[in-house]
């Protein structure tokens, strides 16, 4: 690779970008519009939230309560840790969204006619489950109380039953924006690299300049580097706009490690670049490229947990969502921003992302290399 030729390619690309002020304006306005849309408008129906039950009481009554929660349809009891201290890891690793803690002595207190407290903890980083989770829990517990009173032939006022104490973990103000901003960074990266870069490559093929470039001394690898670099800069600028806007205007707290965020975004950048290159390979015209991108983007947005939580999708779609790279970067970014999850907690997501990065970026570069050389 000849750095001088790459420099000329990069400069050319920047000049072309500058000639298209609409594109730059859209690229930088997109975050703001998306923020407003996503930050304020999103709402969804949620069921089957993955839930952990910590039963410290270990009585028939406490087991009934757990069973009631499970059969309500809103909670899917996937874990039964032995201690409350185990919950942290489950939340960090995104294994559960809700936890119910039944303290020791609950049944005894009920029998004495007291009103013992049940702990309900929801993960505030997933705004949808956090906003509906507590309500569902309250409903389920209220039903448990009235069933119990009816069974004893008593009025609810005589046998008040359990009292639910809701606690929102990690994102106590339940601000949608707190979880949307980190998600937007990734989504916009996918869009800018997928749409804008593929358009740039296809435009070059349409105008014949691509063909021209490969009778010059430019090597395919130099072309790829020269093409990708300006868009990496653009995507980084977008990420900065979103993060800055989020922190200054929407007052999103950043609790995590910059290193985790950077590592996740670097892997996802490779995925996005690869997607853009692959789209440009299968598209002859810019209109075709646009269609192809839409075809790729739409399922990503809907199935990744960007808007609707993955946990409340039907199982087959949950499986599909694992094969969407955006799903994993969302877990990483939301975890790092709000929960201060580290590499250990997010190991699984990082493994998926690394796999996608190698697969998609590798395939794209190899295919581009071959296609261009043809």
């Amino acid at each position: 690779m000849n750095p001088r030729r790459i420099r000329f390619l990069i400069r050319k690309e920047f000049l072309q970008l500058r000639r298209d002020p609409t594109l730059i304006r859209i690229a930088l306005m997109m975050p703001i519009v998306q923020l407003i849309l996503m930050g304020y408008v999103v709402a969804a129906d949620v069921t089957s939230l993955p839930t952990a039950v910590v039963d410290l009481d270990r009585t028939t009554v406490s087991r009934r309560l757990a069973a009631d929660l499970g059969s309500s349809g809103y909670f899917d009891i996937t874990r039964r840790p032995g201690a409350e201290s185990d919950l942290r890891a489950l939340f960090d690793g995104n294994v559960v969204k809700v936890a119910v803690v039944i303290p020791e002595g609950t049944t005894a207190a009920l029998t004495r006619g007291e009103q013992p407290s049940i702990g309900v903890i929801v993960d505030g980083t997933d705004n949808v489950s956090a906003s509906v989770g507590p309500g569902y829990a309250l409903q389920a517990i209220a039903r448990f109380n009235s069933d119990r009173a009816a069974a004893m032939g008593l009025d609810l006022s005589a046998a008040p039953g359990l009292d639910a104490r809701i606690r929102v973990q990690f994102n106590p103000t339940l601000s949608t924006v707190n979880t949307m901003i980190p998600a937007l960074i990734a989504a916009l990266m996918l869009i800018s690299m997928g749409v804008i870069m593929s358009q740039a490559v296809v435009k070059e093929r349409e105008s014949g300049t691509l063909e021209q470039l490969f009778v010059t001394p430019i090597r395919p690898a130099e072309y790829v580097v020269g093409k990708v670099t300006p868009y990496v800069v653009l995507a980084s600028a977008q990420a900065a706009v979103v993060a800055l806007l989020g922190m200054v205007w929407f007052r999103v707290p950043f609790n995590g490690s910059v290193l985790v965020v950077a590592a996740g975004l670097a892997l996802f950048m490779l995925v996005s670049v690869g997607t853009g290159l692959l789209v440009s390979l299968v598209s002859r015209t810019r209109a075709q490229a646009q269609q192809t991108v839409l075809f790729v983007m739409l399922p990503s947005m809907i199935l990744s947990g960007f808007i609707f939580p993955v946990a409340s999708m039907p199982v087959p779609f949950q499986v599909v969502s694992r094969f969407i790279p955006l799903t994993h970067i969302l877990v990483v970014l939301r975890g790092a921003f709000v929960k201060d999850s580290g590499f250990g907690d997010l190991a699984m997501s990082f493994a998926w992302l690394a796999g996608f990065a190698v697969l998609i970026f590798g395939a794209a570069v190899a295919a581009t290399h071959r296609r261009i050389a043809e």
Binding site: N2, R4, R5, R7, F8, L9, R11, K12, L15, Q16, R19, D20, S207, G208, T209, E211, Q212, L213, F214, V215, T216, P217, I218, R219, A373, E374
Partner: protein
């Protein structure tokens, strides 16, 4: 960058049994070509006859299915990179960056071919004068008229002083006056020692070539100077047909695609 000394081959292009298939379609069927240094070689044929595919293989942009290609003494199939700086290529689409200015286009290609500052300044000056663009260096390429774009494309394709220049229908869509002017430029280049390999539709342009090859349905069906080709088709005792008539006769004889 004209090669000097006795090492310079007298043969610029030598092609043997060149074939290219795309799936089931065979675009070029085992052609032989020989272009000598200093020639203006006209490569003629109807649309879809395989001219562009051939040129792309000669420039190393496309790998042949079989056959050998030697350009400027280099095996292009094996070492396409070695001839890049010694050849130029101008496509029928002119291939300029339309959203860059005249100057930016020149600067980009100058940089890509690795011209030093002094050489670039000299070449830029020459091309601007040659193309009549001296007053329009800041104009976007897309705002130039077709004739100007064509001359600028010729300039960018030859900015590195190639020994051999491939031109794929360089005059398509250009008005007759601009075409005449363009051929004057080509003649200048040829007199400066550049070998030209030109495809065209226009028979009045073919007359300007020192040698011609006719291609139809992936095969070379005639080869020689314009005079030789016309004479070969003359009725015994009759007058030689015009080049246009010869072209039609040859094409009809071998069938259309």
């Amino acid at each position: 960058m004209i090669a000097s000394g006795p090492a310079a081959p007298a043969t610029s292009v030598s092609v043997r049994g060149l074939t290219k298939s795309f799936g089931h379609v065979t675009a070029v069927r085992g052609i032989d070509l020989e272009v000598r240094a200093g020639e203006i070689f006209g490569f003629l044929g109807p649309n879809g006859s395989g001219k562009t595919t051939t040129i792309r293989m000669l420039t190393g942009a496309l790998r042949p299915t079989s056959g050998s290609v030697e350009v400027l003494g280099t095996d292009v199939v094996r070492h396409p990179d070695r001839i890049r700086c010694r050849i130029g290529y101008m496509s029928q689409r002119f291939s300029l960056f339309e959203d860059l200015t005249v100057d930016e286009n020149l600067r980009f290609y100058g940089g890509v071919y690795g011209l030093d500052a002094a050489t670039f300044a000299e070449r830029r000056e020459y091309i601007l004068r040659m193309a009549g663009l001296t007053d329009r260096v800041g104009e976007l390429a897309r705002n130039l008229s077709v004739g100007w774009r064509q001359r600028l494309a010729l300039g960018t394709a030859s900015i590195h002083r190639p020994e051999l220049l491939f031109l794929d229908e360089p005059t398509s869509g250009v008005d007759p006056v601009a075409r005449r002017r363009f051929w004057d430029l080509l003649t200048d280049l040829s007199e400066g020692g550049v070998t030209l390999f030109v495809t065209t539709h226009y028979m009045e342009e073919a007359i300007n070539c020192t040698r011609l090859a006719f291609m139809n349905r992936g095969r070379v069906i005639a080869d020689g100077s314009p005079r030789e080709i016309r004479d070969s088709l003359a009725e015994p005792g009759g007058p030689a047909p015009s080049l246009e008539e010869a072209f039609v006769a040859l094409t009809t004889r071998t069938g259309r695609r």
